[in-house]
Amino acid sequence: MIIIDDQLSRIVLGGDRPGVLASDELATTWSFQYRLVRALIDDRIDGRLSRGAAASLRATAAAPPPRVLRVLDPRAVTQRAAELAIADRLNLLFAELLASAQHHGATIALSEGNIGRTWPGLMEQHGIPFEVLP
């Protein structure tokens, strides 16, 4: 399993599976899904698409077909995420991501613009394989 961020989720929902994403089950965390859905509720999206099309994008992002993109249940990692947040001073977004990768034995793939300053070091420290995609 590869866990991806909101930007890569948008790309995957657009029908592309770049690079390393081509051959594995793809999933995202609830927090990254929230970022995606939140961004889609923006006037600039409605400005680019017809009203019906924008609504369809939001509905798909809110409930993507699991075969395309699975949304991981955050309840499975609540305790571990909280522990990591305290130990490594992480916010909810990254604590859930790290805990989910540990829980599912998954790789993390992030888009270039979505990498926190401390994230690569922490993923390495916790033994989580990760990829950065342009």
């Binding site: 948008r10 600039r44 698409l49 369809s56 994008l57 990498i115």
Partner: protein
Amino acid sequence: MVRCMHRTNIYLTEEQERALDERARRADTTRSAVVREILDRNLASSPGIDPEVAAGFRAIAEVYAEITDGLFDDDPDLRIDR
């Protein structure tokens, strides 16, 4: 490849049961294996993303980056400190 499997019970009509058994006999396999093969084939061809919706996700590539840049700056739980 070894697959992790879970036992489940389903109800079949007599006709379905006969057809499954016939196919299993011809393929020299089990009824369960035939059911799994049918499910795999069917699920693999199940609908994914509607092509028009997929095109919409591609069409917003640039504006999506603009929107997310700064959108969560005031939200410590969701922002990314680069």
